[in-house]
Symmetry: C2
C-alpha cells in the first residue's frame, strides 16, 4: 500500500486562507480579490435562469458529450465539433488527459518558465522528466526559443507554451511558436490560450489546428466567460489527437449545471464583448497608472493581469500589507523561475483598481521594513 | 506525438442516445429511466435556494477544500475530517486518484467480476495488469474469496470490492472482506459503498478505517442523495492514505454549486431518510413482483437496483422492446463476466415500477423473436 516511489517528495496542496478567514484575521469589512485572474464583472446574468431550469435534473448523470454545447463551441471557434474536447475541471482536466494520453513515466516534457504551475505539477504526478526552458527576464520575458529547442529529444512528448503567458502577461510571437511547432514535429505542442480573448486576434492559434497536426490549443471558461467556479475547459486539435484523448477522458466530469452555464455564456455575446472590452480598458489603465509609480516595474500584458516587479520590497511584505488593507494579489515567489520580487495583479472593476493603486502607493512610499 | 503504446486498443467512450433522441426515434411522449441507479425522487428541494444564493460567486474559483462540507461529512459519517477526501467527478475522481497515487504501469490490481466497469477502465488507462476474480453465478453472485486471494502477489497494489456489488445487488459478507483485508496487508482494499445507504447497517465498513490502515471506503452523492448530475464523491481511509492522495488530487475540481448542493443534501435529513425508506420499499416491491414472473430470475438486492436473468430472451431484445415502450433499463451484456441474458433495473417511483412490470410481462409473454 505504498504510494508510487517518485511521488515521495511531492507535497499535498495546502489551501490558502478563505476570504472569511482573512476578513476575521484583519478585521476587514470588504475584500478586493485581484489574485486569480477571474472576471471582475462575474458571469452572464442570463445563466441564472438556465441553471434554475436545470436544477430539476441534477439527480441524473450529465450527458457525457452535450450536443448543444459542442454546437455553440464550434460556432464560437469556427472549428468543427470533431476537433473539440471539453473537460469538467476547467483546462486542468484537459491537461490531465494530455498526460494520461501521451506522457509515460520517464518521458520528457519541456516547460519554459516562469509559467502556469499546473504543467509542472502534472509532470511530477505522472513521473515525467521536466526540461525547463525560459522566458527571458532581461528581454521582457520574451520566450527564449533556443531554450526550448535545445531540450528537444526523441523522448520529448509535450511542450507547453502559454500565450499570453501566465504570470508574465506577454504573448509568444507567431514566428517563435511556428519554429517550435515545425521543429518538434514528433511532439505535441500545447498552446495554452486561457487568456487569448484579451489579446490581439493575430496571436490566436486556434484555427492553426488545420495547418499543424501536432498542436493542441487549450482554452477555458474560467477567465473572460466568468465561470471559474463551474470548471469548464476545452481543447482544440487535429481529430486524431482528440480521438486518442477521448479514450481516456473522464466521461461524466462536466456537471449538468456547468453544461447549461457554458452554453449560455457562449450565447450571451453582449456580456462576452463587454467583458473583453472593459477588461482590456481596465488593464491598460492599470498599466498606465503602475508605470507612474516609483520603485516598481510593470510589464505590458495581453491578458487580464499584470506582472509587477518590486525594486525595494519583497513580495511577501507587499502582499501582506495589501492583505491588511483587504486587497488580495498573487505573490509570485512560488512560480519556478521567479524570485520574491514579483506580484501579479488581476484586473478588477475601475474602483477596485483605484483602491489597489492607492494602497500600493502608500505601501511603496512607506517604510522599507519589508527588505 | 504518439499516444502511449498500451492505450492502442482502447476505444473511446461512445455516448448512448439522449432521452430526446430516443423520444424522437420511437415517437414517445414520456420516458421512464431505470438504467442508471439514480434517485427517482430527485434531490432535496432545499438545494435550490442554496444554489440560487451561490450563483453570484460562480466567476470565482471554488474553495479547494470546503470546510463546511468537510464538517457536515464528518458528522454524517462519524469519522474525522482528516480521514475524508472529496472528489469533483463523483466517486470516479477518487478512483482516478487511487490509481494516480498507488498504481504504476505493470502493477497488478484484482477485480472480481461482474462488477462496476470503471475499475477495469481505469486499470487499462493506467497500464495496470488486471487479475480477475469472481462473484459466483452459481452461488447468487456471492464473492469467491479464493478467486481474489489466489491472485494476490507482491505486485498487487489495489483490490476492488464493491459492496453492495453493481450490478448483482448483493453485499459481500463481513467475514469475506475481513479475510481479504487481513491477508492483503500490503495492498489497498477499496470497498466501494456507493449503494451502502440502501443496505443493512452491519455491512457498512466505513468506521473500520480505524481498525485497518489498508482499506479505503468509496462513497458518493450520486445515489441516495440524488446528485449524480453534480459529480460529488468521497473516500474515507486512514490519514496516511488520505494525505498521499491529496498530493495528486485535482485541486479545484468540485464546482461551487456542487459544494453547496452537497452541504444541503447532508443537512436535509428528512429527504435522506425518505429516500432510503422509500427506496428500499420500492426495491422490495419490485423484487416480489419480479419473482412472480415466469422465465426470469430476479436476484435479491441490498442496493437501489435489481439484476434480472432472462431465461428465454436476450438482453438486447428485451431492452429494445422496453425502449419502444419508453422504458430504459441497463443491458448488462457489457459487464465483464456477464453474458447477454441479464438486465439491471433501477428503482423508480411506484407507478414507474408498475409500468415497467406491466410492459416486461407483455414482452416476456409475447413472441420469442428475441432468441
Amino acid at each position: 500500500m505504498k504510494p508510487k516511489e517518485y511521488l515521495k517528495n511531492l507535497k499535498p496542496y495546502v489551501p490558502g486562507k478563505t476570504k472569511e478567514e482573512i476578513m476575521r484575521k484583519y478585521n476587514l469589512k470588504r475584500i478586493i480579490k485581484l489574485s486569480s485572474n477571474e472576471n471582475p464583472w462575474g458571469a452572464s446574468e442570463k445563466i441564472k435562469d438556465k441553471i434554475l431550469e436545470e436544477i430539476k435534473n441534477i439527480h441524473q448523470y450529465p450527458e457525457p458529450i452535450n450536443p448543444i454545447l459542442m454546437e455553440e463551441l464550434s460556432k464560437f471557434l469556427d472549428v468543427e465539433k470533431k476537433n473539440i474536447i471539453v473537460g469538467g475541471d476547467g483546462a486542468d482536466e484537459i491537461l490531465d488527459v494530455i498526460f494520461k494520453t501521451f506522457v509515460d513515466k520517464d518521458d520528457e516534457v519541456i516547460i519554459p518558465i516562469p509559467t502556469f504551475t499546473q504543467y509542472r505539477v502534472l509532470a511530477n504526478i505522472y513521473g515525467a522528466k521536466i526540461k525547463f526552458g525560459c522566458y527571458r527576464y532581461e528581454n521582457n520575458f520574451e520566450l527564449d526559443v533556443d531554450s526550448v529547442l535545445s531540450n528537444l529529444t526523441n523522448k520529448t512528448k509535450v511542450i507547453f507554451l502559454c500565450s499570453p503567458n501566465n504570470p508574465t502577461g506577454n504573448i509568444i510571437k507567431n514566428r517563435d511558436i511556428k519554429k517550435i511547432v515545425e521543429e518538434a514535429e514528433n511532439s505535441l505542442v500545447v498552446i495554452d490560450h486561457a487568456y487569448i480573448e484579451y489579446s490581439k486576434k493575430e496571436y490566436d492559434w486556434t484555427k492553426k489546428i488545420y495547418e499543424y497536426d501536432n498542436i493542441l490549443i487549450l482554452r477555458t471558461f474560467s477567465k473572460v466567460f466568468g465561470l471559474a467556479g463551474m470548471r469548464v475547459g476545452y481543447g482544440v486539435a487535429d481529430e486524431r489527437i482528440i480521438n486518442e484523448m477521448l479514450k481516456v477522458k473522464p466521461v461524466f466530469s462536466l456537471t449538468r449545471l456547468s453544461q447549461v452555464a457554458a452554453i449560455e455564456a457562449l450565447r450571451d455575446k453582449e456580456f462576452f464583448n463587454f467583458s473583453v472590452r472593459e477588461g482590456i480598458k481596465v488593464r491598460e489603465y492599470l498599466y498606465k497608472e503602475l508605470k507612474k509609480l516609483k520603485n516598481i516595474n510593470a510589464y505590458p500584458s495581453q491578458a487580464n493581469y499584470i506582472l509587477v516587479e518590486l525594486k525595494n520590497h519583497t513580495s511577501d511584505y507587499v502582499c501582506e500589507e495589501l492583505l491588511k488593507r483587504g486587497i488580495i494579489v498573487r505573490d509570485c515567489s512560488s512560480f519556478d523561475g521567479l524570485n520574491n520580487r514579483y506580484i501579479r495583479v488581476s484586473i478588477g472593476k475601475k474602483e477596485e483598481i483605484d483602491e489597489f493603486l492607492k494602497e500600493l502607493k502608500n505601501i511603496l512610499e512607506g517604510d522599507i521594513n519589508g527588505m
